[in-house]
Structure formats: structure tokens, C-alpha cells
Amino acid sequence: MRLSEHIYRTVSSLSGPLLFVKDIFAARIGEMVRVITDNGGDIAGEVLGIEGDKVLVELYGDSRGLDIQGMSVVFTDSLMRAPLSPDLVGRVFNGSCKPIDGMDMFIPDKQVPVTGSPINPAARARPEEPIETGFSAIDGLNTLVKGQKLPVFSCSGLPSRELVAGILRNARLTAGDAGFCVVFAALGLTFHEYSFYLRTIKEMKTGFVAFVNLAGEPVMERLLAPRFALTVAEYLAFEMGMDVLVIITDMTNYCDALREISTAREELPGRRGYPGYMYSDLASLYERAGRIKGMKGSVTMLPVVTMPEDDITHPIPDLTGYITEGQIVLSREIHQRDIFPPVDVLPSLSRLMQKGIGEGRTRKDHREIANNLYKYYARGRDLRRLEAIVGREGMTEGDKHMLGFAAAFEREFVHQGNVRRIVGETLDIGLSLIERYKVGR
């Protein structure tokens, strides 16, 4: 046990973000390290592995320009911690939790390890209070509830950020709006995207905290930023009693960063080069969403995943789908028909919807309307394939009717532009669609 910082100048090798230091006394796994260069540079890092007195350190910052002789390594004897205080709200930080909004660092009330601890499953409360996002395709058919993690599966070029911005602007808890806060983690975003999001966030009336790692910034910080964001979210939710919506975009950049670091560590690659522990790693982020019995706040998560090659079976959306409670899938085909948001409701799913809708939550007839809309639309979409083969003329009246429904559903229910709809309105539109196209005509 050490009680103070130790400083060493015994770096034996350096390659990419990895640093080997020798002759170290009592290093700790996960311990925070600072590398101080002789010309005044200061880079943070973490102890990754220890073998006797040799220690493997991973650097968070850029290792370019470092030289082995001219640097000292400080072992701090503490884990990576996030500074917490109510003053966080309204601030913008980089991936290492340094303020980048031009204001001074706040004085933290406490420091908490960023990796967090798992919530005891026996202490979790069942998520069941709906969050109104203002979008019919979500509120009507894939209702989001407090404490859920519901990713948006997008394809490159689709307006996922407009959808997320819309949700940010419109999201409201149907149960009332006591203390709502958005925690935003931007991972590997281009400046263009980032400035768009930041503008949206600044226009919001609710509080926000942002952690930003841009495309040009160190890859290691991309792994760190969501952990800071979630630690802050847990603090705001379970200690300040707020309902927190965590938006992480883009998880695909996160996974690519994970792969890059894993390769640098010379670990055995799994599917498509992603490390075998990617499931556990993603779970350590996603599973921090939830509610706790006897506590007021909640952490709801809305990560954005861009599916590489529009492929939903790619490891990133695949593993995400196995951990999260459903997914909102955007479709290129629907987007090309100028429908916004371009949500394809067939592969979309909210696993926690059943408990979040119905009498006392949204409306008594919600479940029935949703089931019917889904059933008819699925049938209509099926018939589109048939139409492509036999042509519209060769189809029965009943089938043409169903095709009409599918088109009307997309145009009137899914499509809504930037207009906010309350749940009641969404359900009324759905109901009138069903009435118009009812079987039996």
C-alpha cells in the first residue's frame, strides 16, 4: 500500500498508445498515471497490466513526439475518477473531463470512479413510465420508457441527428417534468455534426452536460467520454433525483476505437477484428441505464449506431441489439420517399413498451391501435414484393387496399417533419387510418 504519488523515469518501451515502465513498486491495476515530458507536456494514462515490477500503461492522449529518455511517469495510486457537483449542469467538457466552454473548472463535491458499479438486479425498479418523444413512429409503436436503453440504428447519410435533435427538443415525460436533464456524449464526431448538436442543446430549455470527443481528438478519450457521461448521469439521477436522458453518438466510432486499442495491445481479434470482449464492454455502458427502487431519478439511454454497409448483422448493431431493450431502425428506402423521420417500424422494437402503455400510462386503446397498425403495415409491405412481380393490375382489391394502407401509414403516421405530436394525436391519426382501411370496408 502506497499513500502518495511515485515518479519514475524508467520507461523501457513505447509503441502507439502503449508504454512499458519497469522497476515499479506496488502498482495497481486501473491506476491513473500521468506522463510528464521534459518540455512540459502532460498526458494521462491508465495501468493496463502488471507483471512483477514491469507495468504496461495505456495513454489517453496523443503519444506522438514523446521520447523515452525525456519523460517521467507519475503513478497516482488512484483510479480514474469523475469530478461531480451540481455545477456540472450547463457545461461542456472534452473526453478527459476538462472544460472546453471557456469557463473555469468547477469545484467538485466528490470524485467517483468512472467505471461505476453494476446495479444490483434486485434493486432495479421496472421501467414503466413512458417518455413522449413527439414522434409518432416511436411514441405510437415503439414507446420509450424511463430507464430504458433504446438505440437508433442508422445508415450513413440518413438524418439520425435530425431525429435525435427532434427528440432532444421535444422529449417530455408524460408523468410531469420534474428535473429533466440531457447528458450528451459526442464520440468521434466531425465538427460539422458537433456544432449542429451543440446548437440544438443550447436552444433547449432543460439542463444539459456535454462530453465532446471530435474526430481529430485522441482515440482513447473516445472510450473514456461515455464513461464520464454515464457517471455524471448516474450522479444526477440517483443523487440529485433527476430524470436523465443520455445521448451517445456515434457508438460505431466507439467500437472502432475499441478495436484500434485492442489491436495495439496485440489482443486476439474476434469477428471483423473487433475484440472478443466487446459484448461485455458495451454492456458495461448500456447496462448503466435504469431505475432504482426507492429512488426518484432515472437514466434513459438513446445511443446512435451507424450500421456499416447498412448491415444490421454487423457486430456493432448485432451486439448492441443483444444488450439494449429494442432498437429504432432507420431505413434508406423510406428516407428516399422523403419521409421524416425515416423509421422502419417493422424491424424496430421497444421491449419495455408493453408495461409503458395503456390505461393510466398513455391511453386505454394504445395497445390495440399499435397492434393493428403493425399488422396491416406488415401485410402491406409484404404485398409490395408481390406488386413488383405481378404488377398492381394483377392484384385483388383487398390487396390493393392493403398497399394503399401501407402508403398512407408512411405518409400520414410516420411522416411528420418537425411537428411535435402528443401521444393522443398520434393515436388519433392511427385510429383514423385503421378506420379508413378497415378490413370488410
Binding site: A122, R124, M295, G440
Partner: protein, 543 residues
């Protein structure tokens, strides 16, 4: 004897402690993290730690426990909720708050609680090994206490009435105490006298399973399916409604919110066979995806040992795991950190042998005491990308008796349970058909065959119909399509959130009979020359 930590890398820790045995339980560091010895060398031993190693330092002390990783078996397991190392989650929550802290040992069973003990044997009676000595009243169950020694014993004295489980329940004349609870190494299967081939039906209350792919008590089945195909919901539905005495459910690397939902449901729902609350017959082992990986690997062993323990009392136990893929991934993660040679897709080459020896712990047995008990397993598998050719699914296929394939395209059509009726199979179905016929109706097998035929004919007709349109088909074919549609939507589909969630075999049978009757009636009308439109109007197209 204590040693020191030499090196740490992820969950594997090397130590200089000598005299350890392979798979011995170890406590590492000041915070006493639980671990297991996985490799022994002359100079050092490698241990795999079941908890988050973050913060562990070189030079911290390590201590061997002198025994392997065990579970505590005794009264109080039922209705319990444990993590992968058998720590009681509810008491953990009460003692350390909503977040799980590392390095805290909490006894799995409550030693202060008193249970009613009723002796079955009197002083001076001879008890063979494995025979009952008495029982605790554990809720509605008789929790039998047996002669756990390996020899014939004579009872010297015995306790009666309210007893806590760690006080002796009596003594044999040889001096051996009669104990209320025991420790058992999780990786060793518990002994039995004889194993039988599974031949009793396991009724799940799911029409598609009971009718088309019937499962057997003591049998094994896998449920593979991509995400969103309803694995968890189906597993939970089976856990609720299966006609067994005790259910052991392992949430292995799955979602915390789903577990919370399940816990609440189990508290309110009733067992349809006995009308008692479901919690009265359920043991939950929960290791969610964000809890330590190594404990996830251990969790299925912890759970199956508890299941075997109740099997040994002569109960029918159902073991459900969701999902086995997460267990296999944990195995892979550990294997990688041990720098072992990888096999297919990075999984260790011993994946399939570990898996099959685990699945072999299922079966119908004659217990040491001469009773009949069974342990059935239904295991879900999450193949990456929904691709069933991956190693875990393939290894399971070789070791299990039933394959219930969950189909993504059915799930997208909201056909739940999304069991594909062409690819799935049950090796028990043929043997069990006789049992079903005897119990419910002679028509069972015939109806089954008819149902399969209809579905198969529909499939071949569907292609034709796609080209010529439904109008272009003959009336008899359109009737067939319509009836097959009825089978799919009214019989095979079963909404787990409605009153239809449980369907008793009688109900399943009568529903199928009705559909068949409808079909026969319509066919008769067609033969008389009445057209389909005239006979039924046009609503049949709405399927």
C-alpha cells in the same frame, strides 16, 4: 498460508502462493476478491478472479480457501435470488445499497432463520446412505434431509421443531452429525444411482412446443435466435407455466431491466398447476451483462448444482438458462486472457466438451435414496448475426434433444413465439406421442401429422400464389392457404402478455380439433360445388 500477487492482467492474477490445488477457491487482495486456481506452475499459480480487479495492487496478499468453488445447499434456496457466486442479491441490496460493491462475502443462506423440521426416522433406526432422515418445511415443499455419509448409519438422537440450518439435526451412533446444509463443488455433478431415458412429457403451456415439438422431463432443448426473436420472453413464459415442481432460472449475461421485470411478474403471477405464487417454486440466479465476466462463467454451474440438489429429493426440476452464448463468450474471454490456443471463432477448443458435459447433467434419475427425480434443461442461444452455423449453436445441437429455432422473419411479422416450423425438431416427440395419446386423446398424433402437412403444403403453394396471385388459385388450394393461415395465427401464435399465455394440453388439442373441423366442413361444401366466396364471404382474405 498467504502469498503475494505477482502480476495482474484483466481477470487473471498470478500469485506466488505454493500448495494450491487446481480449481481451489482463492481470496485475492485486501478486499478479498473471490477467485479460482486455473493453472499451476513450479514458481507461480494463475488464478481467475470472479470480480472486478480494478484497484488491485501488486504485493497484496492472497489466501487459499482449501476447497474448490462450492455452493451452499440447504433450506432457503427456493424463492432466493443469487448472483453467479451464490451471493444473495436481496440481502446484498439491503446491506450495501443498490450498487454491487466488490469483495464482500455474504452467506448465501440465512443462518438465523428457523425452519420447521420433522424427523422421519426414530432413534435406533438404521438409515442407508442417501435415505431420508427427515424434512424441513420449505414453503409448500418437503425439503428432505438425507443420510449424506457413505455408510449405513444408526440414529443416536434427533432434533424436532424449529431449527436453524446450521445447527445439527441429530447424530448417528458413529458420531457423524446430521447436517441441515452442505457445501458442494459446483463443477462436480451430484451422484445418483441410475439414469433413465426421458419418457415423461414436459408440458410448457406453449401450443407450438407441446403440440409440434414436445419436450420431455429430463430432456434438453435449445432455443437459438437472433436479437428480437423473443428468446427471453419464451424462456420466461416456460418458466412460468411448465408443469414441474421447481424452476431454476439463470439470467446469464442478459439485461438488468428484463430481470427486474421478471422478478416483479413472478411475485404477482400464480403457478397454473398449483395456484401458488410463482416465486414459491423458483430459484433465480442472475448475472447481468455488466456483472463480472468470470462469475458469468461460473453462474450456470452454481445454478445447475442447486437444481440437482432438488432433483435428488425426488422433484422434477426445470433448468432454464438465458443465454448460453454469453456463458460461452465468458469462457472465450477467460481463455484469451490465459493465452490459450484459440479454436473456431476464437472460442477455446474445449468449448464443445465443456458444453456437452454440462448438458449431460440433465436427465431422469433414480436418486441415491431410490426416488425418481428429473432435471430438464431449456437453454437459449444468441447466435451472432442470427447465423446458426456458429460454434455455440453447433456444439449445442450435438448435445441436446430438441432444437426450437427462433426465426427473425417470423418475429418481424410479430409471429410469437417465433418458432420456425420447418427447421425445428424434437427427438423426444415420437416417444412422447404415445404418452399424449394416452393422457389426452387418441387423435393427438393424427392431428399433429395433419397440422404439419397443412403447413408444408402452404409453403409450396405460397410460391405459386406469389406469382399468380391468390385469385388465380383453385378453391381447394385457397381453402388450404386459409386454414394454414388459421393454424399460424390462431394456433401457433400465442401472446405472452394476454390470457392466452398458458394453454393447457386439453385446450391446445381442442383448438386444433376446431380448426380441423372447420377445414373438413369447408372441404365438404366445396365438394358440393359451393364456391369459397359463397361459403364464407370474403373475410378469409384478411389473413
Amino acid at each position: 498460508m498467504t502469498g503475494r500477487i505477482l502480476g495482474i492482467s484483466g481477470p487473471t492474477v498470478s500469485v506466488d502462493l505454493k500448495g494450491l490445488k487446481l480449481y481451489e477457491r482463492v481470496y485475492a487482495g485486501h478486499s478479498m476478491l473471490t477467485g479460482e486456481v486455473v493453472r499451476l506452475e513450479q514458481e507461480k499459480s494463475v488464478i481467475q478472479v470472479y470480480e472486478d480487479t480494478r484497484g488491485l495492487a501488486i504485493g497484496e496478499p492472497v489466501k487459499g480457501a482449501g476447497m474448490p468453488l462450492t455452493v451452499r445447499l440447504g433450506t432457503g434456496l427456493i424463492s432466493g435470488m443469487f448472483d453467479g457466486l451464490q451471493r444473495p442479491l436481496e440481502r446484498m441490496r439491503d446491506e450495501m445499497g443498490p450498487f454491487i460493491k466488490i469483495g464482500r462475502e455474504i452467506a448465501p443462506l440465512d443462518y438465523l432463520k428457523k425452519w420447521r423440521y420433522c424427523p422421519l426416522r426414530k432413534q435406533g433406526e438404521i438409515v442407508e446412505p442417501g435415505e431420508d432422515v427427515g424434512f424441513f418445511e420449505e414453503g409448500p415443499f418437503r425439503h428432505y434431509i438425507i443420510n449424506k455419509t457413505i455408510k449405513q448409519q444408526k440414529i443416536a438422537w434427533f432434533a424436532e421443531g424449529e431449527v436453524s440450518i446450521d445447527s445439527p439435526l441429530g447424530q448417528f451412533e458413529s458420531g457423524d452429525e446430521i447436517l441441515g446444509c452442505i457445501e458442494w463443488p459446483v463443477r462436480d455433478a451430484r451422484p445418483y444411482r441410475k439414469k433413465y431415458a426421458p419418457s415423461l412429457p414436459l408440458i410448457t403451456g406453449q401450443r407450438s412446443i407441446d403440440f409440434l415439438y414436445s419436450l420431455a422431463k429430463g430432456g434438453t432443448a435449445i432455443l437459438p435466435g437472433g436479437f428480437g426473436t423473443g428468446k427471453t420472453i419464451l424462456e420466461q413464459a416456460i418458466a412460468k407455466f411448465a408443469d414441474v415442481d421447481i424452476v431454476v432460472y439463470v439470467g446469464c449475461g442478459e439485461r438488468g431491466n428484463e430481470m427486474a421485470e421478471m422478478i416483479e411478474e413472478f411475485l404477482t403471477l400464480k403457478d397454473p398447476w398449483t395456484e401458488r405464487p410463482l416465486t414459491d417454486r423458483t430459484i433465480l440466479v442472475i448475472n447481468t451483462s455488466n456483472m463480472p465476466v468470470a462469475a458469468r462463467e461460473a453462474s450456470i454451474y452454481t445454478a445447475v448444482t442447486m437444481a440437482e440438489y432438488y432433483r435428488d429429493m425426488g422433484y422434477h426440476v426445470l433448468f432454464l438458462a438465458d443465454s448460453l452464448s454469453r456463458w460461452a463468450e465468458a469462457l472465450r474471454e477467460i481463455s484469451t486472457s490465459l493465452e490459450e490456443m484459440p479454436g473456431e471463432e476464437g472460442y477455446p477448443t474445449y468449448l464443445s466438451s465443456r458444453l456437452s458435459s454440462f448438458i449431460e447433467r440433465a436427465g431422469v434419475v433414480e436418486t441415491l435414496g431410490g426416488k425418481t427425480g428429473s432435471l430438464s434443461m431449456i437453454l437459449s442461444v444468441s447466435p451472432p448475426g442470427g447465423d446458426f452455423t456458429e460454434p455455440v449453436t453447433q456444439a449445442c445441437l450435438r448435445a441436446t434433444g430438441a432444437f426450437l429455432m427462433l426465426d427473425t422473419s417470423l418475429a418481424h411479422k410479430r409471429h410469437f413465439p417465433a418458432i420456425n416450423w420447418f427447421q425445428s425438431y424434437s427427438l423426444y416427440a415420437r416417444e412422447l406421442a404415445g404418452q399424449y395419446e394416452k393422457r389426452y386423446s387418441q387423435e393427438w398424433t393424427d392431428l399433429q401429422r395433419w397440422c404439419r402437412e397443412m403447413l408444408q403444403k402452404e409453403e409450396s403453394l405460397r410460391e405459386v400464389a406469389e406469382i399468380v396471385g391468390a385469385e388465380g388459385l383453385q378453391d381447394s388450394d385457397r381453402l388450404l392457404m386459409h386454414v394454414a393461415g388459421m393454424i399460424r395465427t390462431e394456433f401457433l401464435c400465442q401472446n405472452s402478455f394476454s390470457d392466452d399465455a398458458f394453454s393447457a394440453p386439453e385446450q391446445t388439442l381442442s383448438q386444433m380439433k376446431n380448426i380441423k373441423a372447420f377445414h373438413d366442413q369447408a372441404e365438404a361444401k366445396l365438394r358440393q360445388g359451393i364456391s369459397l366466396e359463397e361459403a364464407f364471404g370474403r373475410e378469409h382474405e384478411a389473413v
